[in-house]
């Protein structure tokens, strides 16, 4: 045990000296800040209008209830603004008739939306007079926020594995692995010592990110379970990368290649229809993402977590067993 801790402490020490520990401590905070800044801004987005300043202030005041408003100096400036690459729709007084000004490449939905809002304004539609009541299910968390947090949880788990892979290859290049090979520590002990960093840092990162982004009411035990199994995937992948690769470029290639299945799983869950989902069932990140998604939505049941954990662990363990001999050999 003492030797295992020694290996872990060497990694921490080297990582502290290398600032990696500081980065890992910082990364969840940086991600959390980005999400907290980003999501409200995206959530507020409906449509963007541009007006000529002073032409019709009451119109502007009215439409501020529905869309984001930009004011420009004159008609030429309006045309310039509308012609820019983002989707901004202009409104101007064309000989007494208020007209929508578009670039021409906006989506049909944007054009319809803009017409509808101007129509409301022209007809003094007061939403307070609506024949409608608005109720809600009490969900305050925007699904986009959950998506980003979930994605970044996945990235933190993957990062842990990447660090292990790079760490091992560096030791191979420096030949310090050979030095360890002639100490009493067993290979298994060495592997465990190397893995600790891939376990602790992602778990810490997950908790930090989740709490920083306001998901404090989630099931903590479920988060621990999912973080642990997610970390295991990262560790297995890390050892795979570390043992199969002999230099930094090969590790870099592996890391780059890893993004395909990881992002592929996210894209499949978010964008593909149900009939294509089965293609991704064999990838453990699919279930990590799915599990975290349910967890963040407070919809995860223990049987779900158990099942997903199984689907995550089974391929990971199989790969680990397959690689075991290779890992021991690769550490030579």
């Amino acid at each position: 045990m003492k030797k295992i801790i020694a290996i872990f402490m060497r990694d921490i020490k080297s990582n502290t000296r290398d600032f990696i520990a500081m980065y890992i401590l910082l990364i969840p905070f940086i991600f959390g800040v980005i999400i907290n800044l980003l999501v409200p801004s995206v959530n507020e987005t409906t449509l963007n209008f541009a007006f000529i300043e002073g032409e019709n202030p009451s119109q502007v005041e009215y439409l501020e209830n529905f869309a984001k408003i930009t004011l420009v100096d004159d008609y030429q400036a309006l045309e310039e603004r509308v012609n820019r690459r983002d989707e901004v729709v202009g409104i101007f007084n064309d000989d007494g008739l208020y007209t929508i000004l578009v670039q021409g490449n906006e989506s049909e939905q944007t054009n319809k939306f803009a017409k509808a809002l101007l129509m409301f304004e022209q007809n003094d539609v007061d939403y307070k007079d609506a024949n409608a009541n608005i109720y809600d299910f009490g969900k305050t968390v925007n699904p986009m926020k959950s998506l980003f947090v979930n994605l970044l949880l996945l990235m933190i788990g993957v990062l842990g594995g990447m660090l292990i892979g790079i760490n091992i290859v560096e030791e191979k290049v420096d030949n310090t692995i050979s030095a360890v090979n002639v100490t009493p520590i067993s290979r298994v002990g060495f592997i465990i010592g190397k893995s600790i960093i891939g376990l602790i840092l992602p778990i810490y990162g997950s908790f930090a990110l989740v709490y920083l982004t306001g998901f404090s009411d989630i099931n903590v035990l479920q988060l621990i379970v999912l973080s642990l199994v997610g970390s295991f995937v990262g560790i297995v992948v890390g050892f795979f990368e570390g043992t199969k690769n002999t230099d930094i470029m090969e590790v870099a290639a592996s890391i780059k290649a890893l993004f395909i299945p990881v992002f592929g799983c996210v894209a499949a869950i978010e964008f593909l229809s149900d009939k294509w989902q089965w293609l991704f069932y064999w990838l453990p990140w699919y279930w990590v993402y799915k599990g975290n998604g349910a967890l963040l939505a407070n919809e995860a049941t223990w049987s779900q977590i158990g099942l997903y954990s199984l689907f995550i662990m089974i391929p990971s363990v199989l790969v680990f067993i397959y690689l075991k001999a290779g890992i021991k050999k690769g550490l030579e």
Binding site: L26, E87, V125, D136, F137, I248, M249, A252, K256, L272
Partner: protein, 370 residues
């Protein structure tokens, strides 16, 4: 000539490296995914879940309005499965949406909540239709105001007034890209440009680890030649993979010159950034945190790409924002080549301006690490 020889050496080293072939393999995998797994267009119809608490006359009026809203409307009595629950619904499918009409409010609300979609109960109040909307809870105030505003005027008046609103177009044409084609700029900027940040750092640390940078530094060849040869190698792999994937998705319907110059110059720019960053560290472990965060930050414009109406100033300050737009201009019909050319020129100029910084940093830190 020295640049040419250095580049040839890098090509030779690259061809003996697993990385080179992994790049090609990844391009093949991306092509397979894009052409065979990703559908031409994603499911775009919105789902509405409705419960009609109306008498038969008003119910009939409502159903008539569904039929009037589209040329193609189909009706199917079906069972909707939500988790373990099954609900009997009448499904009206139009060109733009799927309207599920439930026979009770509880089932409708349950479905709307589970599916994170809009749910509505339409009832009679004061001899007119009244709408109870069930939203999720995180919708913005602006969105809620829009929903409410739809139910102030009657439908006939609303349509008539809507048709009166004039629209003036400045002459642009709608970029008609399929959803699959729309993914291409994201791939091009991520794989072709952004990952260059990380890969060039890996190349440099590999050479630092072998110590060959020091040997190179005491030759008559400039350090900048060494750095440029690395950038060129990266450019070659980026060009090959970018063209391969673009051909697979677009066929010959894209701007070849535009793609060539944008991949080259954006890759050059990102590589220079990677070179400068890697000069501050002795090995890849030290630099990895910064690279990781930078890649995430530079990926943020992808969000604005998917949500065109969201385009805050700070997103526009991120260089990759212009990369993605440029790649889109390359693949749309009548794309703006001048924009692509200008963007490429700016990246080239920035790269040239930053190159001395990278060279200076490398000269300064030749004996550090490795």
């Amino acid at each position: 000539m020295k640049l040419w020889h250095s580049f040839l050496k890098e090509l030779k080293l690259g061809s003996k490296s697993f990385y080179f072939y992994m790049e090609l393999l990844m391009a093949v995998i991306i092509i397979v995914i894009l052409t065979m797994v990703v559908p031409e267009n994603f499911e775009s119809k919105a789902n509405e879940y409705i419960f009609l608490d109306l008498d038969s006359n008003f119910e009939e009026m409502f159903i008539d309005s569904i039929y009037a809203s589209s040329d193609n409307v189909t009706l199917e009595e079906t069972i909707l499965e939500i988790g373990k629950d099954e609900f009997n619904v009448d499904l009206y499918e139009t060109d733009e949406k799927r309207i599920y009409i439930f026979d009770n409010e509880v089932d409708m609300k349950k479905t709307a909540e589970k599916k994170k979609s809009l749910g509505v109960t339409i009832k009679l109040q004061d001899n007119g239709m009244f709408f109870d909307y069930y939203l999720q809870g995180y919708e913005s105030e602006k969105f809620i105001n829009i929903v409410k505003s739809v139910h102030v005027l009657d439908a006939v008046t609303m349509q008539a007034e809507y048709d009166k609103i004039p629209v003036k177009s400045l002459g642009g044409t709608q970029d008609v890209l399929t959803d699959r084609e729309n993914l291409l700029p994201l791939f091009l900027y991520f794989n072709g440009s952004l990952m260059g940040l990380f890969i060039i750092a890996a190349y440099i640390f590999l050479d630092k680890g072998e110590g060959v940078i020091r040997a190179y530094a005491i030759t008559a060849s400039k350090v900048s030649t060494y750095l440029l040869s690395k950038v060129l190698l990266l450019s070659v792999t980026s060009l090959v993979t970018s063209f391969a994937v673009t051909f697979a998705v677009m066929g010959f319907d894209f701007n070849f010159l535009g793609l060539f110059i944008l991949v080259l110059t954006s890759g050059f720019f990102v590589s220079i950034i990677g070179l400068i960053l890697s000069s501050y560290y002795s090995n890849i472990m030290q630099s990895f945190g910064v690279l990781y965060i930078l890649i995430i930050l530079l990926s943020l414009p992808a969000i604005a790409y998917n949500i065109p109406a969201w385009n805050p100033a700070w997103i526009q300050a991120i260089p990759t924002h212009y990369m993605i737009i440029g790649f889109k201009e390359i693949i749309i019909e009548n794309g703006d080549f001048m924009y692509v050319a200008l963007t490429s020129l700016v990246f080239l100029l920035m790269s040239i301006a930053l190159m001395p910084v990278a060279t200076y940093r490398f000269k300064k830190t030749l004996t550090v690490g490795g």
